[in-house]
């Protein structure tokens, strides 16, 4: 059977499923106990496996299968969800994405995934052996490791051995908090405080980070090296309120090593020590999980109802749009004819048609709108990974992901946003210690917010980090020669912040992998401006920064100023026009072979479009020049034209693939009389 016809659908759906897996994994990390999320991931993975096997992508199917095995084990409560396991699953999702990408670009979807497969198998195997070990007589339980992944690295083992030699006792302390305990992390922290006074904490389960994030049920285990004796430690811990029970037992590292050898095959072990306790815990946990599941089901149901959609190729929408535009042109003619004939019935019908086609235009434009979520949805993953790499604690909040933007804008906005977010993570949010010292919450918050306002969409990237150090920016800008010391003193805060968009300026003290090379923010600014948008910064030192990106709702329809040069019509986007002026010939000055004018105290160079565009000239020189003052960033230029026609909303069209890059022309549009007018790219004219 020829599969090619299904390939497109396959790729689209695979991407969707992978995205879903990604989203749900992040969700799972927040709620590791929620089995319904695992089920959701499992379903997506399973569908993906089935599809890729049918399409003959064995590697894809294989890896998905391995991942599925792990998920299945989680689902059946055989493995506990930990950050490490999720990392591996995320890794495999990355690989899957790469495979799908390879397929979509015409590749065979093959990829060396032995590494990830190994890890997945390890997780899974640890599992299968675990079932065996739980059947074993529980003779070792007293002395060794319980809980999953309770293994020590070489360093920790060395610490244990050393402390033994120096007369310290090694203890394994299991603390169970009361079930109604509200501030679990705080209680755990208090316990740690006490333990640190009397000894050294070697390791905790779950990890101290997870404990701080309250990612544990009601109990945690601490390995402590101390000179105090067991009963004393227990008494001290019990002073902390809301503690249910404390078990302190001597931990023998020699025995651990022995048992570890025994365990060599077993990578991760999970043995429940006290059956009664587990029962009580699981009893108390169960009702809440069920509630959660129900809640989630409702949510997913609501989602599926709201998402009744059909998939339409964007090309078809483009064709529809083209056809409609032709209709608009004919409508214009009809309106003219009916006016000339002045037949009331005809006028009425044409008016009616105009109204309907107006509505139709709105609907067609709306169809091309996509929620920004399609761009935003990859950020949580990115932030998670980056925060890990940077050793920071960062939470990303996304607000207004349902805000809609034209497809063409969506396609372009991804990279600049990635850049701004990386910037916020790297330079904005400080390291946990620094934050703590500054009296802030250790976890930094980055908020990504999108909303409509007027004819624009705003996207904000806000962090509660260090903010921008104005002095530093000014110093750097002066040393790079971007500004002079005199001009610096005259600058407003906004202007100073805008300096960081200047190329070659980075205020980060050291360059990291993530950002700080000083190329970047200027690219971001250029990209956003080329989309007809703008970006501005607000910042308060020590409190954080806010990057505000303003974008036009759609790129397919823009406002332009139509101008005439001889018999040719050109369109200049309103977004780059400052104002128009009529200038007398005598007002034009010469500076270095460049004609300039004095415009409101600024020297503005003139660009004669007639020369630039080699317009065949017929009429002689005029005494008055029509000038359009345009800007690119801070730079101004005056475009000299023959006459202004007026302002108009136009439909932006490309010149086609054949004429790929034409100097200073960004596209074309079709005017009411059916002729094509070229759109001038002011950015290319100003150097």
């Amino acid at each position: 059977m020829d599969m090619n016809q299904y390939l497109e659908v396959f790729i689209e759906e695979s991407k969707e499923h992978l995205q879903n897996v990604n989203d749900q994994l992040l969700e799972l990390e927040k709620k590791p106990d929620d089995i319904s999320i695992v089920n959701e991931i499992f379903r997506s993975a399973h569908t993906l496996k089935g599809m890729s096997a049918t399409m003959g992508y064995e590697d894809l199917a294989n890896l998905t299968h391995k991942m599925e095995n792990v998920l299945d084990a989680i689902r059946n409560n055989k493995i506990k969800v930990t950050s490490e396991i999720l990392d591996v699953v995320f890794l495999s999702v990355d690989d899957l994405e790469a495979m799908v990408l390879s397929i979509s670009t015409g590749g065979d979807g093959k990829r060396d995934v032995s590494n990830v497969v190994d890890l997945l198998q390890k997780i899974e195997k640890g599992e299968s052996i675990q079932t065996k070990s739980s059947q074993k007589p529980v003779k070792n339980v007293e002395s060794f490791v319980d809980l999953s992944n309770e293994t020590f690295d070489q360093f920790q083992i060395a610490v244990f051995e050393q402390s033994n030699e120096q007369g310290f006792h090694n203890y394994k302390i299991k603390v169970t908090l009361r079930e109604d305990c509200l501030l679990k992390a705080a209680r755990a922290y208090m316990v740690f405080e006490i333990l640190e006074q009397i000894g050294e904490i070697v390791k905790t389960f779950p990890s101290s980070q997870e404990i701080e994030e309250e990612k544990f049920d009601h109990d945690f285990t601490v390995f402590l090296a101390s000179k105090e004796d067991a009963s004393d430690i227990s008494a001290r811990i019990n002073k902390v309120s809301e503690i249910n029970s404390v078990e302190v037992e001597e931990f023998n590292i020699a025995q651990y090593n022995e048992s570890k050898n025994e365990q060599e095959l077993i990578n991760q072990v999970e043995v429940t020590t006290q059956v009664t306790e587990t029962v009580s815990v699981s009893n108390s946990v169960k009702p809440t999980t069920i509630e959660k599941t129900e809640e989630n089901n409702e949510k997913s149901q609501a989602k599926s109802v709201g998402n009744k959609t059909i998939r339409v190729n964007i090309e078809r929408l483009d064709i529809l749009m083209n056809l409609f535009e032709e209709l608009v042109i004919d409508r214009g003619r009809l309106e003219q004819i009916s006016k000339d004939l002045n037949n009331s019935e005809l006028v009425e019908t044409v008016e009616r048609m105009s109204r309907i086609s107006g509505d139709l235009q709105n609907i067609i434009l709306n169809m091309r709108m996509v929620p920004v979520d399609t761009v935003f949805n990859r950020f949580p993953r990115m932030v998670r990974q980056l925060a890990k790499d940077l050793g920071k604690k960062i939470e990303l909040d996304i607000v207004g992901a349902e805000t809609e933007l034209d497809r063409t804008v969506i396609d372009e906005i991804g990279d600049p946003l990635v850049h701004l977010i990386r910037n916020a993570l790297d330079h904005g949010v400080e390291l946990p210690e620094v934050r703590k010292a500054a009296g802030k919450d250790e976890t930094g918050h980055v908020t990504l917010r999108a909303y409509h306002s007027g004819n624009h969409v705003f996207i904000e990237i806000q962090d509660d980090g260090a903010g921008i150090n104005k002095e530093k920016v000014i110093k750097k800008a002066i040393s790079r020669g971007v500004i002079t010391e005199q001009s610096a003193s005259l600058m407003t805060d906004k202007q100073i912040f805008d300096l960081i968009f200047a190329s070659g300026l980075s205020t980060a003290d050291k360059i990291s992998d993530v950002s700080g090379r000083g190329v970047g923010l200027d690219v971001v600014k250029n990209t956003i401006e080329s989309l007809g948008g703008s970006v501005s910064i607000d910042s308060e030192l020590g409190k954080g920064s806010l990057f505000l990106v303003q974008l036009p709702l759609t790129l397919s329809i823009i406002s332009v100023m139509l101008v005439e040069i001889e018999k040719e019509k050109f369109a200049i986007p309103l977004s780059s026009i400052i104002e128009t002026a009529i200038v007398k010939k005598s007002e034009i000055l010469n500076a270095h072979n460049q004609k300039v004018i004095d415009f409101r105290g600024r020297v503005v160079p003139l660009i004669f479009l007639k020369d630039i565009f080699d317009v065949p000239s017929r009429s002689g020189e005029d005494n008055l020049y029509s000038v359009i003052i345009v800007r690119k960033g801070d730079k101004l230029a005056g475009l000299v034209v023959d006459s202004f026609i007026g302002q108009q909303e136009i439909v932006l069209k490309s010149l086609g693939d054949y004429l790929q890059t034409v100097f200073a022309i960004s596209g074309a549009t079709i005017l009411g009389d059916g002729q094509v007018a070229l759109i001038i790219d002011c950015n290319a004219l100003i150097k």
Binding site: I612, S654, G656, D657, Y658, V676
Partner: protein, 148 residues
């Protein structure tokens, strides 16, 4: 010779100067009358500009200029042949488009060293049909966009 000419092939015959040229009908989208062309500045000399083709902005090439044939004024019989090549559409200005005929692959001969005034590189071959000589145009080369 392109693979397109398999046994029997329908071709569109058009006129340039005194010669008759042919391109496979499968490549032709439509034949249009000349309409207002918007000049695009700073492009190759054979690119005359763009037109509005049912809402699509389509570039137009003057085939005479392209093939180094002397330019003439456009007149009533001047036609624009819209061809789809690779992934783009281009309009070709020709003196006239008069015929659709079937040609037989076996009749196609390699281009002689000198065919009229057109440089050989733009030609795939020639076909003799009764008393007519059709020059089969190599679209790939004729449309190649090199700035002159």
């Amino acid at each position: 010779m392109t693979e397109l000419f398999e046994k029997e092939e329908k071709v569109i015959v058009f006129q340039l100067s005194d010669e008759e040229y042919a391109i496979p009908v499968s490549k032709v989208r439509s034949i249009e009358k000349l309409q207002h062309i918007t000049r695009v500045p700073r492009t190759a000399n054979f690119v005359k500009g763009v037109v509005n083709l049912r809402g699509l902005v389509t570039p137009i090439i003057d085939l005479r200029t392209r093939l180094n044939i002397e330019e003439v004024e456009y007149n009533e019989s001047t036609r624009v042949i819209i061809v789809t090549h690779r992934d783009y559409e281009v309009g070709l200005i020709v003196d006239a488009a008069n015929d659709v005929i079937d040609i037989n692959l076996s009749n196609v001969e390699p281009p002689p060293d000198v065919v009229g005034v057109v440089e050989v590189e733009y030609i795939d071959g020639v076909v003799k049909l009764d008393k007519r000589l059709l020059i089969i145009l190599n679209l790939d080369k004729a449309l190649k966009y090199d700035k002159k």
